[in-house]
Symmetry: C2
Subunit: 519 residues, 2 copies
C-alpha cells in the first residue's frame, strides 16, 4: 500500500477566516415545527402487529416486570395488579384501559412562548445529544472528560440552531462539577443559555424537585401557572430486561403529578439485554414501556407520556453496540407501528457508532434520522452531536447533524411537491424552447429566493474551487462553523428577576449541600 498524501487542512480556510473575524453568521431556516407528511414505512402486517402486541401482553401477564420502587408497587397492588415481591404482573385489559387515557398529542410550553412545541400526531421535533460522559473536537483531537464549559458551548449550539426544538439532558456530562451540585449548575446554564423546552434527569427526589422548581422560576410562574401546562419533561430508561429502578419511576411520578411530561425509553440491544430477534426485542421494549405508562395513566389519567425506542443490535463477535444499522431501522419502524397501535407519541434517536464525524458517522446518522421519519417518530433525541454510541459529544458532529436536519425540514416543505399550473410551468417551457435555459426566465426569477434551500455546511463548488479555498473536508468546515457560532452567540432574552431568582435558588441549594450522591 502506498503512503497516503497528507490531507490538507488550513485552519478552516475561508470559513476559518470568517470565524476569526466573527463576521459571517450562517443562514439557517427559521424556527418551525415540521409536519411529517410521508406515510410511515410499515414492515409489519396486521398479524405481525398482533403478534408483537400479544408477546408484550404475555410478558406483562405471565412474566411480569420488576419495579424496585415501593410506591409504584403499592399503587399496582391497590390497582388490582399481581404483585409478588418486586414483580408486577398486569392483565392486558387493565393495561389497554389505562393506555386509553393517554393523549396522542400534547404541547410543551417553556418560558419563551414562541418555543412551544407540539408532541405527537405527525409533528417532527429534534433535540440535541444528551448524556455523553466525554467530549471530542478537532481542536483537541482526543476524547476528554466533559466539562461545564463544553456543556455550555453545546447548549449554545442547541439554542443557536432553529432546527433543534428541545433540549435534552446534559449535552455532555460536566465531570468538573461535583455530582451533588452538577444539576444546579447545568440547569442554570440550560435555562439561561436556551429558552427551549428543557429536560431534567430522574436521578433522585432532590434533583427532580430542584429541577422542577428551577423551570418554574425560569418562567416566573406561580405553582398554579406552572402546572397549567406541560412545560418540561424527563426521559427514563428501564433496566432491560424487565426492570424499572427506584429513582426513574420516582422522578416520573413527581413529574406527572405536576402535569409535566415523561418519556419512557427501554434500552433493548438485541442479542444483549433483549432477544437477538428484532420482534422479540421490540416486544420486550414495548412491555417495559407500557408497564410504566400504564402506571402513570392510573395515577394521573391523561398525563402526557411518550413511548421511546432504543432497540438496536450488537456486533455478535465483540458485543459492541451498533446504531443506524438495517436492524436499527427496522426495529424503529416496527416500534412506530406499535406506538400508533397504542395511540402514543413516539421518541426515537439520531445515533451512530462512529467515533469521529466522518463518512460512517454520516451514513449511520442519516439512517437513524430516516428511520425516525419512516417510523412516524415525534421526538428525535440525540439528533445533533452524538458519536461513539453516545459516549462522545462532538460540536463538529452537532453542526453536521443540523445540516442534515435542515435538509429534512426542507424535504417536508409542501412547495417541493406542489403541482399548480405555475409549478408545472408549461408556459415557461414553451417560452424557453429547445435552445435556451431557465436561469434568466421570469418563471425562475419570480421564485429565485425561495425556490431552493440554501445549506450552510455543504460545499457544492467544483473540485478546483473547493481546492483553491483550502480543500477543507466537511468535519473541518463544521469546526469552523462551530467556532463562528460561539464567537457570535447571544443569550436569549430573559427577565432579570427570573434570572436572579434562578441564581438565588442555585446559591441557596449549594449552601445546603446540593443533592445526595449515593445514587
Amino acid at each position: 500500500m502506498t503512503d497516503l498524501a497528507p490531507r490538507r487542512r488550513r485552519g478552516g480556510g475561508r470559513a476559518g477566516a470568517a470565524a476569526r473575524r466573527g463576521a459571517a453568521v450562517i443562514e439557517q431556516r427559521p424556527w418551525q415545527m415540521t409536519i411529517n407528511t410521508d406515510a410511515p414505512v410499515e414492515p409489519l402486517d396486521d398479524e405481525g402487529i398482533a403478534a408483537i402486541h400479544d408477546g408484550a401482553m404475555r410478558i406483562l401477564e405471565e412474566i411480569g416486570i420488576e419495579f424496585l420502587n415501593t410506591e409504584a408497587l403499592d399503587i399496582f397492588r391497590e390497582a388490582g395488579c399481581t404483585v409478588n415481591g418486586t414483580n408486577v404482573r398486569m392483565d392486558r385489559h387493565w393495561v389497554m384501559e389505562k393506555l386509553a387515557t393517554a393523549p396522542s398529542s400534547f404541547d410543551l410550553s417553556p418560558r419563551n412562548p414562541e418555543r412551544r412545541i407540539t408532541t405527537g400526531d405527525n409533528h417532527l421535533l429534534f433535540g440535541n445529544v444528551s448524556s455523553p460522559p466525554n467530549f471530542w473536537d478537532l481542536s483537541t483531537g482526543r476524547k476528554v472528560p466533559g466539562t461545564r464549559e463544553q456543556c455550555a458551548n453545546l447548549l449554545r449550539l442547541t439554542q443557536y440552531f432553529n432546527c433543534i426544538h428541545f433540549v435534552g439532558g446534559y449535552p455532555v456530562e460536566p465531570q468538573d462539577i461535583h455530582a451533588s451540585v452538577r444539576h444546579l449548575d447545568v440547569l442554570f446554564d440550560k435555562l439561561t443559555l436556551t429558552d427551549k423546552v428543557a429536560h431534567i434527569y430522574s436521578l433522585g427526589a432532590e434533583r427532580v424537585e430542584d429541577g422542577i422548581e428551577m423551570v418554574r422560576l425560569s418562567g416566573g410562574w406561580t405553582e398554579e401557572e406552572f402546572q397549567a401546562a406541560p412545560r418540561m419533561y424527563t426521559n427514563i430508561n428501564s433496566t432491560s430486561p424487565l426492570k424499572h429502578d427506584v429513582p426513574m419511576i420516582d422522578g416520573c411520578l413527581r413529574m406527572i403529578r405536576r402535569n409535566q411530561a415523561v418519556v419512557v425509553t427501554p434500552f433493548t440491544l438485541a442479542g444483549a439485554m433483549a432477544p437477538v430477534t428484532l420482534a422479540g426485542a421490540v416486544a420486550l421494549s414495548i412491555s417495559e414501556a407500557l408497564s410504566a405508562i400504564a402506571l402513570f395513566q392510573h395515577v394521573k389519567p391523561g398525563c402526557p407520556c411518550v413511548i421511546g425506542t432504543f432497540t438496536s443490535n450488537v456486533d455478535m463477535k465483540s458485543g459492541a453496540p451498533a446504531f443506524g444499522t438495517a436492524e436499527y431501522m427496522r426495529a424503529t419502524q416496527m416500534t412506530g407501528q406499535m406506538a400508533r397501535f397504542y395511540g402514543l407519541p413516539l421518541r426515537s434517536s439520531g445515533v451512530c457508532a462512529a467515533n469521529v464525524p466522518d463518512a460512517q458517522a454520516a451514513w449511520e446518522t442519516s439512517n437513524s434520522l430516516w428511520a425516525a421519519i419512516q417510523s412516524g417518530s415525534n421526538l428525535i433525541y440525540h439528533a445533533a452531536g452524538w458519536l461513539e454510541g453516545g459516549l462522545i459529544a462532538s460540536p463538529e458532529k452537532f453542526v453536521i447533524d443540523c445540516e442534515m436536519i435542515q435538509l429534512i425540514q426542507r424535504y417536508f416543505d409542501p412547495a417541493l411537491t406542489a403541482t399548480t399550473p405555475g409549478d408545472i410551468a408549461f408556459d415557461a417551457i414553451a417560452d424557453v424552447g429547445a435552445q435556451g435555459h431557465f436561469f434568466g426566465t421570469k418563471h425562475t426569477q419570480d421564485r429565485y429566493e425561495i425556490a431552493f434551500h440554501q445549506p450552510f455546511l455543504s460545499d457544492w463548488r467544483n473540485f478546483e474551487a473547493w481546492d483553491a479555498a483550502g480543500g477543507i473536508w466537511t468535519a473541518d468546515r463544521a469546526h469552523a462553523v462551530y467556532q463562528n457560532i460561539l464567537g457570535t452567540f447571544e443569550e436569549p432574552a430573559m427577565d432579570v428577576a427570573q434570572r436572579d431568582a434562578l441564581s438565588d435558588f442555585v446559591a441557596r441549594r449549594k449552601a445546603e449541600g446540593g443533592a445526595p450522591t449515593d445514587f
Copy 2:
C-alpha cells in the same frame, strides 16, 4: 480559531497491514437480487399525478420535442406524428398506446447465466459509477485525468462486490487511450474483468455495432442466440430542454432492433435546463423520456425500455449542481409515481456533490439511495464511486458506497421483520428473566451467525480500541479495503475461445482504425 491537531493516519493501521499482506479478504453478502418490499413514498396525490401527466402530454402535443436524428423523424412522420423540421409533436393517445406495449419488467442475461438480473417491478439493482473524466484517491490526493489502469481497477471493484449487479459505462474515462479505439479497450476490459450485465455508449454507429458484437462474442452466442434475450443495455440522455441528438437515438434503435435494452434519462437540473419548480422539471423530464420510449415501442413493440430520472437542483447563487438534496429526493419520488403510472421500470442514481469521501459525500449519497428506494427505482446507477457531481470517480467512495448498499440489502431481508413465535421469543424472555442477559442463551446461539449483518467497513469498536488501532477515519479504511481487493482480485472464469475471439476482434478493429472521432 485554534490550530487543529493533525488527523492521524498510519497507512491504514491494521487494515493497511492486512492489505499489504494480501491476507484478509473482506466478508460480504452473497450475490442476490434485492426485492424492495417497502411501499413507495408518494408525495403526489391523484390530482398531482394527473397534473404532471397533463403537463408532459401538453409538452408533447403543443411544444414538441426536437429529434435531430433523421431516421427518427421519418419514423415519426410515417407513424402520423406532426413533424416540422426537427420538431416532433405527438398526440397523447398515440403516446399512451405505444407505452402500453412496454414491459414493466424484463431480464438481462450476460455471459455468466448466474448474473442474470430482473429489471422492473420491485427489483432493486445497483450499478457502479459511470463516465467521470477524472479520478481521485487518497494515494494521489489530487484530481487527475482518468487512465485505463484506473478504469480497470474500478471494473475489478465492480466485479468484486456482490452488491453491484450491473456494469455502467466507463467507471472513469480513460483519457490515455485514443478516442477512436477507447471503446474497444475498455469493453475488452469490462467483458473480461467482469461477467455482469454490460453497458455500451450510444456514441455513433461504429461504436454501437462494435459493442454489440463484443458482447455477442463474450457469450459465444450466434446472432440468433444473442437476440433471444436482452443481454446488455445502453443509457442515453436527452439534451434538455426538449431535444434528442443524433447518435443517442441511433444507438437505441440499433439496440432495440436486436432485442437489447435502453434506458432514457433526461438530465433536467431544475433552474438550469428545466423549470425551477420540481413539478415542471419532472414534467419536462417525463415528456423527453416518453417521446423516445414511444418511438422505440413503435419500432419494436415490447422492446425493453427503462425511464430514467436525473432531476436535481442547482445552487441558485452559483449555478453549481446539487445532489442528494431534499429537492433531489422529492423529484425522484415524484418521477417514481409517474413511472408506475406509465408502467415502466425506473432508473435513478446514487449521487452527491461532495468532492471527497467525507461526511457530506455520505449524507448526500445516503439521501440519493433512500430516494431510489422510496421511489421504487429498479436500476440505481452511479451507486458506487461517484464524487463531485459525476466529475470524479473514487475507489474509496466506491468501497464506502458498497457498505451502504449492503446495509440496504440487509434492510430488505425478511428475517428482520419476521414475527413467528420464535421471533417473539417469549420463552427466551421468560428464561432470562430480569437478572440475566441474552448473549449465551440457546435462542441467541441458535441464531448467532445469521442474526446480524456483519459490515466490512464500519468500525463499531469503542474509541479507545479504534484509537489504539491507529484512529483511522472511514475514507482511509476504505482505501485499505480497496488496496486489499486489488491485491487479491481474481478474474471471473471465461472460455478461452471467447476471450480469444474478443482479443482478435479488438486487434482487427484497431487495425481498421477504430471508430470515427468526429462526434
